[in-house]
């Protein structure tokens, strides 16, 4: 989806280093939203595509205006609604209760806490790519495309030629997989692009951008 989340190369956002930007978060509710979001996934309380593709559906102006973890609240709510776990209006009703002084309920479940920490230790590596179409050193070109849904092929690389740097392993194409559609696992590559091919001659000495791309995104160059 060619949304505002696809930021590589955009102008106008200002400085990277700002007061406070060193911190992972600034308010106590932020890591709790992070944890809550994780539980929505591990306890399968949500539906539809995962948190990331869901956030990409945000209205672009809202996306830019929202803070990072506000976007996570948004995607958690949408996913919970799509599963019928909550219905629209329930969060607002709870906000009213809390606003008028009601205590937030507290409930402990040691087994759930343990299960959540165990899920965070799970490691599932990509299968090795035994029959990849391209090998290290091959020249490839990123296909031109305008996918309506989730994709991991950023706009800035489309149509640009690069060199296969490394073959990583096999993975399902997210463009289909995040919507639950059948797709065979395919090789994922690191592709090296010269800065001049991506951006033209710039002010900086030449540099290299390495982007991880699924085989479906590439054609021989």
């Amino acid at each position: 989806m060619d949304g505002v989340h696809d930021m590589g190369g955009m102008h106008g956002f200002g400085a990277v280093v700002e007061p406070g930007s060193e911190q992972p978060y600034h308010e106590r509710w932020e890591p709790r939203v992070f944890a809550l979001h994780l539980l929505v996934s591990t306890e399968r309380l949500g539906a539809g595509p995962g948190g990331r593709p869901t956030r990409e559906e945000m209205d672009p102006a809202e996306y830019l205006e929202a803070s990072y973890y506000e976007r996570w609240i948004w995607s958690a709510e949408r996913r919970l609604e799509r599963a019928g776990t909550i219905v629209p209006g329930e969060v607002e009703a709870m906000m009213e209760r809390l606003r008028s002084g009601a205590d937030a309920p507290r409930q402990d479940d040691e087994r759930l806490a343990r299960r959540t920490l165990t899920a965070l230790r799970d490691v599932e590596q990509l299968d090795p790519a035994t029959s990849a179409r391209f090998g290290a050193g091959d020249r490839v070109r990123v296909r031109r495309m305008r996918p309506p849904g989730h994709t991991r092929c950023p706009r800035y690389a489309r149509g640009v030629a690069g060199t296969i740097e490394r073959v990583h392993g096999l993975d399902a194409l997210p463009d289909l997989a995040v919507y639950g559609r059948e797709t065979a696992a395919e090789p994922v590559y690191s592709v090296a692009f010269r800065s001049a091919d991506l951006w033209g001659a710039g002010d900086e000495p030449p540099f290299t951008v390495l982007l991880d791309l699924w085989e479906s995104y590439l054609e021989p160059a």
Binding site: E22, P24, L38, E65, I73, A76, P154, W199
Partner: protein
């Protein structure tokens, strides 16, 4: 603008967002779907146990043990697991080494992908539009903001982690650290050194 009926107002007050976050948690706790202690446990995990101190130990080990360094660059996930680190967002680790003529830095232009098991949760700048927009297009300008000026002959290599592979930069061991213990070495390896927006200095 179909989602404007979900209770967002412009501009949103910080307290409104906080209230919304608390309400969402309260709602799921009240329904018995999540528990307060499970949320506490995740928060505490990333506050106390999982952070850049893990990655620093990996780097320090690679500096003192050439065989480990080789394993780390060849099979990142397994070598990192030797020190007990691994899990979500660290399933497919690739470690890229800085060299006298190569400087690596990592970004995620589409999202905020980051190797949690070795670095914890990303700093705000890593997740924010300026870094996501500029790291792949003007890396030296970005590095200058971090106070890092590289000679022109150094090739900057920017890794945009657009798939499920997560990257860790292995910085060069700085001069003046001969004879340092692994623990001493780990102390000078900051988070930014392992993202590639800084280099370690002997202090």
């Amino acid at each position: 603008m179909s989602d404007h009926d979900h209770g967002h107002h412009h501009p949103r007050e910080a307290s409104e967002v906080e209230l919304r976050a608390r309400a969402l948690e309260a709602l799921l706790v009240e329904k018995g779907l999540v528990s307060t202690d499970a949320i506490d446990a995740v928060v505490e995990l990333y506050e106390n146990d999982v952070g850049p101190q893990n990655g620093a130990r990996v780097v320090a080990r690679a500096w003192v043990d050439p065989a480990y360094r080789e394993r780390l660059l060849e099979h990142g996930t397994e070598a990192i697991a030797e020190l007990g680190f691994g899990g979500t967002e660290g399933e497919n680790m690739v470690v890229v080494a800085n060299e006298p003529r190569v400087h690596n830095m990592v970004t995620c232009t589409l999202c905020s992908c980051y190797p949690w098991p070795v670095l914890g949760l990303p700093p705000t700048w890593y997740k924010s539009p300026p870094y996501r927009a500029r790291a792949v297009a003007e890396p030296r300008a970005v590095l200058t903001e971090f106070g890092l000026e590289l000679p022109d002959h150094v090739e900057v290599r920017v890794w945009d982690s657009s798939a499920e592979i997560r990257y860790l930069v292995l910085p060069m061991r700085p001069a003046g650290t001969d004879g340092w213990s692994e623990e001493q070495l780990a102390e000078i390896v900051t988070r930014d050194c392992m993202i590639g927006t800084a280099v370690p200095v002997a202090t």
